[in-house]
């Protein structure tokens, strides 16, 4: 291998970036390239992997308890009691997560994926306490700032609570909520045009813990699907997350 092959130059550049010894403008230019060059990202990751063991030489430091509190506050930003804040929080994260979530839900079916209006993935993140509550919350999003729907589940009571937020009523049609797991037939969780509380229907409690579980809202004839399966377009989807 010759001393200065393009490969070596590129690799050395990646190493210099990882060390952090580039000049500021050089670093910014490199990062711009990094964003569009997967091979370069690979070279950077290699250097991170090679050098990471050196971090073992650094003395660990115990964080003060306030550090966790600050992180918890920064990540929660709002509690589920305050929907507008939830909406802000969800919206901030939406863009970053839509793509990933689409991939995760690919098994859900191409036809459905093509008809998705938007996807949201959200947990209101109670960090402290509430461990025993067995509560789940899902936000079914429209992709705008306001979630379409908030669905919360209390497993101890076997109860589902629906709060429509940005959901627009369609004359002569009903919005129906479905729980979908893999390729199994969707299970109806009832109509969601108005707020209310209900049981879990045919959905087994254990299904709530399934990370593959997806919530979807389809537009059905007034009164709900006549067949027991979604017949209209899926207009929103979301994911149910356990509240810890």
């Amino acid at each position: 291998m010759s001393g200065d092959s393009p490969d070596i130059v590129r690799d050395t550049l990646a190493g210099t970036y990882v060390l952090g010894t580039m000049e500021q403008d050089e670093r910014a230019a490199f990062e711009a390239r990094l964003a569009v060059d997967p091979d370069l990202r690979g070279a950077v990751a290699e250097w991170q992997r090679r050098l990471a063991p050196l971090s073992a030489l650094v003395e660990p430091q115990q964080p003060p308890p306030e550090l966790w509190q600050r992180i918890a506050a920064a990540t929660v930003a709002a509690r589920p009691a305050a929907e507008p804040h939830i909406a802000d929080f969800a919206a901030a994260r939406l863009k970053a997560q839509v793509r990933r979530w689409r991939l995760a839900s690919a098994g859900f079916g191409m036809a459905l994926a093509a008809s998705l209006a938007a996807i949201a993935l959200f947990a209101p993140a109670y960090f402290e306490a509430r461990r025993d509550s067995g509560r789940y919350v899902g936000i079914v999003n429209t992709g705008g700032a306001m979630p379409a729907l908030v669905v919360s589940v209390d497993t101890r009571r076997g109860e589902l609570r629906i709060r429509p937020l940005g959901l627009k009523a369609e004359p002569g049609r009903s919005h129906e909520l479905w729980a979908v797991r893999g390729n199994a037939a969707p299970v109806s969780l009832g109509l969601v045009d108005s707020a209310g509380q209900r049981g879990l229907g045919a959905l087994p409690l254990a299904a709530l813990a399934d990370p593959q579980l997806v919530l979807a809202v389809s537009l059905e004839p007034a009164g709900g699907s006549p067949t027991g399966q979604p017949t209209g377009p899926v207009v929103f989807t979301g994911k149910l997350i356990r509240q810890d």
Partner: protein, 180 residues
């Protein structure tokens, strides 16, 4: 949460698994805080770095990819990057606030001084040991202390150009030695 790997905790945290997020924090923060403190040299700034890193993990702004390496290497890289941003942005204060910069890392332990089961660390140290002293010191100071080229040059009393050459040559030799 029992015996979960950093990798699985990272993935779960990015999906807003709050318990996994907390476990990841407990598991990784002492080490990460050490890494950040050594670079930014101020406790409050180091804590800011950790906060930024964890918010990025939670929001999915920073995304972990298993195929690119271990979870700990990823976390260390995120932390170093953020810490470097932090000190580079505050260059006007850092010169005064980093008196310890006088004492750059130039006394790395020998691989023999490291426990045998820490083979990865031993391997890097063995390769670093084979480098000329200047190259080794420059790389260690940059990686561990977040020193800039100029800081290394001042410390080792050589021109900046020399430091840059040392870093490039040292990296090339290190890569060769570590075999990919």
């Amino acid at each position: 949460v029992t015996e979960r790997t950093v990798e699985s905790l990272l993935e779960a945290a990015a999906l807003q698994d709050a318990a996994a997020f907390r476990s990841l924090y407990d598991l990784a923060v002492p080490k990460l805080l050490g890494i950040a403190s050594r670079i930014v040299r101020r406790r409050d700034l180091a804590e800011e770095v950790i906060q930024d890193v964890f918010v990025k993990i939670w929001t999915g702004t920073a995304r972990f990819d298993r195929t690119l390496g271990s979870g700990l290497a990823y976390l260390a890289a995120l932390t170093r990057n953020r810490a470097l941003d932090q000190v580079r942005r505050k260059t006007e204060v850092s010169a005064e606030e980093r008196p310890e910069m006088q004492d750059l890392s130039d006394n790395l332990p020998t691989p023999e001084a490291i426990a045998e089961d820490r083979s990865e660390l031993r391997a890097v140290l063995a390769c670093l040991q084979r480098l000329p002293a200047g190259q080794r010191q420059a790389i260690a100071a940059a990686y561990l202390d977040g020193a800039t080229g100029a800081e290394i040059a001042a410390r080792l009393a050589v021109p900046l150009g020399t430091v840059k050459t040392w870093l490039s040559r040292g990296l090339a030799a290190l890569r060769e030695c570590m075999g990919r």
